[in-house]
Symmetry: C2
Subunit: 256 residues, 2 copies
């Protein structure tokens, strides 16, 4: 059995989009808040890791979304570390509604970054042990995003903002997801819900950089969007989402 940790979250208006559903960027904020709280409870919080000259980064997300929580809904977010090896730890998040029905499952891959060398560090036993994940030599092959269609894509440009940088001195993950999704047409976003998705982070974006968010739509085993976040010559992040057409909305975009 994994060492599980759970928190209750109430979905506030500032977490929601115009259809009064939790946004994907804010979902990720809530998930990472819960895993940070588990770390604090095990005395392995951000300060402990920072004092060792390290910080956690996330390399991969895999989302499986039954439905996004609604405004004012109370949800339960459970998280547990499942497995680790010398470089990676794997952590699962499950979001449930008030009947304890599973709404969302997210599987993530974390690694430790050496703050000075700016490269990945071996995971020290004292940092990982309290989470009671299983050690396994096996390094998982995470599902990769598909490539953006180089002949037909949307592109939008974003400057990193002061408040995009979080307490770890990184551009917070949620902003990459905002850049990724915002590159799609707003009518597409309003008419479709994400059912599955993968995001891979390759290289951090730093302050004062200008990023390009490219996306293309692909109909293949359903409706998919493929994405990259790039600067001039570097791909920082890539993603693929699978979408379902929203069946019924009333004029205001709210579910009926």
């Amino acid at each position: 059995m994994y060492l599980s940790y759970e928190e209750t979250k109430d979905i506030a208006y500032y977490m929601c989009d115009r259809t009064q559903r939790l946004t994907l960027p804010m979902l990720v904020n809530l998930l990472l808040d819960v895993s940070e709280k588990q770390s604090d409870s095990l005395e392995r919080g951000e300060a402990y890791i920072r004092d060792r000259g390290l910080n956690w980064i996330i390399l991969h997300y895999a989302f499986d979304i039954g439905r996004m929580p609604r405004l004012n809904e109370r949800v339960y977010i459970e998280t547990f570390a499942t497995e680790y090896n010398k470089l990676f730890t794997y952590r699962t998040f499950i979001v449930r509604d008030s009947n304890r029905t599973e709404l969302i499952k997210v599987e993530t891959t974390f690694a430790l970054l050496d703050s000075k060398k700016r490269k990945m560090a071996r995971i020290p036993e004292d940092i990982v042990a309290p989470y009671k994940a299983e050690y396994s030599k096996r390094i998982r092959r995470n599902k990769k995003p598909d490539e953006v269609n180089s002949e037909e894509y949307n592109e939008k440009q974003y400057a990193v903002r002061y408040f995009d940088i979080d307490g770890n001195n990184h551009v917070n993950n949620s902003h990459y997801i905002n850049w990724i999704l915002d590159s799609l047409d707003s009518t597409f976003l309003l008419d479709h819900d994400i059912t599955r998705g993968v995001i891979t982070f390759n290289k951090e974006v730093s302050e004062n950089q200008l990023v390009f968010s490219q996306s293309s739509i692909r109909e293949e085993e359903g409706l998919n969007s493929d994405h990259i976040i790039k600067t001039e010559d570097t791909v920082h992040c890539s993603a693929t989402f699978t979408w379902d057409k929203v069946k019924r909305r009333n004029m205001n975009g709210y579910d009926q």
Copy 2:
């Protein structure tokens, strides 16, 4: 005595900037979450107002900030409506720390917008009565922001993003504040804290608009920054903040 409502909030990492302090945009999100919760508790929530073809807009904020809450700090946010007249209601927010010491006071002016006519509506008695604010014919003269120095100012440009639009179909207030502050140099933001501020909203920005955020610094009874958010020919929002130099930070920008 006013009809007061209070909620407890724990400051999560996603609400904080790189110095692990609550950001002003996120402070405003938390305040409005608490006032929305008071409205829900009085059965005057967003759906009640929307069904009347109306929605609340905020015209003015006045901030008085002793200090911003820190990451993981627990704060108490109290709110109460103080006074109303035919067009405006006035609401105060007080943020206190775990010792019940006042950290922040914010005074706000709300009005009702007729969703179809896109203009201000008279405030119906049944909407305002449950808050037990005092009726007074007097219309307050809110402190106005100072003008941006037209000869020497910073300017940055922002496109409204899909997720900037909230469940009221408006650009959420917090994004205006993000645009306002992001136009200042990041070294200035890192080295200074806001002690006071006023923000005035004149006209909504809509989706697909491009806004210009202009700011200038003024030394006059302390250090001030003046701001406007404008589109081609319209000023949508203006603000003035007063700043204190942060005395001690360690290398990571954290308070010592």
